[in-house]
Amino acid sequence: MTPITPSAVSVQDLQIRYGNATVINGLNLEIAPREFLVLLGPSGCGKSTLLNAIAGLNDVAGGQIHISGKNVTWAEPKDRGIGMVFQSYALYPRMSVEKNLTFGLRVAGMAKDEIARRLEHASKLLHLDQLLHRKPAELSGGQRQRVAIGRALVREVDVFLFDEPLSNLDAKLRNELRIEIKKLHQSLGNTMIYVTHDQTEAMTLADRIAIMRDGVIQQLATPAEVYHRPANLFVAGFIGAPAMNFISGQITADGQFTSGALSVPLRRSLPAGPATLGIRPEHITPGGTTLSGTVTVVEPMGADTVVWFDCAGQQMSLRVMGDSDLQPGQTIGATFDTAHASLFDAQGDRL
């Protein structure tokens, strides 16, 4: 089953085992050329495993991997046309930045002037010109990060793989480098597959996000789609900070969602039964009587403020722009916009 328009990367029925444990079982994924795909998911869900399989660093127990239309399931990593950036950067500690960047090219026996050209291009682009003779130990975190990207860059390949490249950095640097990577993608136009478990990164960088759990892709869609129309409870809870508020209740035969005193009319008819309503904090506005409770914590974030309140024994959060004069202990009423709410069935799937 080869795709009709060749994908940059195509993963078919992939199966991966570690010893007896099957970590990925029958995964399919098509990534378009020039796409920025983010693999997002909790720790241990198999993100790195999948990425390593695409890179050719892991044994594949079944299925196929195609890159740029070629079946590379059993090809050597170097022959797959990929570059990879690791969480720990994996810079060669005894080599200078220059040697780190050109090691792969020298191994491949490339001509000297071509190596020099690529080195110059990458080091200009990443502002590494001044650092070429330093050892990795003499670089800051952000600089190491850039060298690691440079090492993928000089390979001039179509597909870049990133495995949590920012997670070792502090918050401020992470924010800065995130934007750098975004710009890099815009200027290079490569296909990028980017693993993270930081959702800000996922939201801001991705063309599409693949949300994984236990080796299975839960949803593969644009960031906005994932955020606003999560495919299931797991995705809904995983994306967004603070997390989406969930209210479990019933769908009644007369087209209402009820939970305790709360009753919300549905905009389309759905089969009756137990269900969960999900509302993001920013879609709840203070005032009104749909929800009511006691404020427990107020978190002023500067640009906005998150207010936590206790609603019929359940912690809920709402977000308002700017500061808020609400105080813990105060009772508040709130209302929400059903247009932005999500409904999930008893299995947790979106209705």
């Binding site: 390593n52 890179a55 690791f86 969480q87 810079l91 060669y92 792969g104």
Partner: protein, 293 residues
């Protein structure tokens, strides 16, 4: 309100601190005493030695025993001291250390990163081999080496040392390499480097601290070896320890303790100076990963 204090606290010499230094000094005595006795004995004359006062300082500094030990003491009809063995020992130890460290590093690398089939069994057997007394290896090894005409030759004794050094060095390197991030290995694979290239250009340069540790342990072990040198080196390549034995160990002949001590210290000089000069690297190397079991 307590009286106002400001500025740095008065320096306190605590009982604990005094106890600490007392402990250290008594340990210095314990560790240095043998060396001290060896040194003063080597400087004594025969008459002073016959007085049998091991702690008494020599009446005068008399280095003749050292000269004798180095170039005059007899072993059989040859009276060349330990100097001939010195060169032999160097010829045996240097290649044996170099080869066993290289091979051990290679083993550790192959076992930890490539995990080939049977690797675990190999490692377990190797460790078991490290626990076997040497003596039982002698006859079959002699036979085997004789059959390939390596018996009583320099390459033969070097080979024997390499074979018996492998378990320890492999253990050190394997334990070191499993503490390194696998990503490094993966990155090199993506860069297209193969088995040997990754080893020589990435892993080996990274394991300098461990090379130092392994080389020092191996060096001491091989330099101080007596039995293997005696059995496998052959008359022309006998290491320094065998010559030391010939000077020190006599059954019906008389003994000169000053020469014995001087010869011993001369024999120990090379490993000792290595420890004194590169002790710092040794500690650093051990800190770099030998510790993690």
């Amino acid at each position: 309100m307590s009286p106002i204090q400001s500025g740095p606290a008065p320096r306190k010499i605590t009982i604990g601190r005094i106890g600490l230094y007392l402990f250290l000094i008594s340990m210095v005595a314990f560790f240095a005493l043998p060396l001290f006795v060896m040194l003063i004995t080597s400087l004594k004359t025969d008459e002073e030695i016959r007085l049998a006062r091991i702690f008494a300082l020599p009446a005068s500094l008399n280095f003749s025993a050292w000269a004798t030990a180095w170039s005059g003491a007899c072993a059989g009809t040859i009276c060349n001291g330990v100097q001939a063995g010195f060169w032999n020992s160097i010829q045996i130890t240097v290649p044996a250390v170099a080869i066993s460290v290289m091979l051990g590093a290679l083993n550790g690398y192959a076992l930890s990163f490539w995990q080939p089939k049977g690797g675990k069994i190999l490692f377990a057997l190797l460790m078991a081999g490290a626990l076997v007394p040497y003596q039982i290896f002698l006859y079959p090894m002699v036979r085997a080496l004789a059959s390939v005409s390596l018996y009583n030759s320099l390459p033969g004794i070097v080979l024997v040392h390499v074979l018996f050094g492998l378990p320890l060095v492999t253990l050190l390197f394997r334990n070191y390499f499993i503490t390194l991030p696998v990503e490094l290995f993966k990155a090199a694979r993506i860069d297209g480097a193969g088995f040997w290239r990754i080893f020589f250009e990435i892993m080996l340069p990274m394991s300098v601290p461990m090379v130092v540790v392994a080389a020092m342990l191996q060096f001491t072990g091989i330099w101080n070896d007596f039995l293997l040198g005696l059995v496998f080196a052959g008359p022309d390549n006998l290491p320094m320890t065998v010559q030391l034995n010939n000077i020190v160990n006599t059954t019906t002949g008389s003994r000169a303790y000053n020469v014995d001590m001087a010869a011993t210290m001369l024999t120990a000089l090379v490993p000792l100076s290595i420890y004194f000069l590169s002790g710092r690297w040794f500690v650093r190397g051990i800190a770099a990963g030998a510790v993690k079991g």
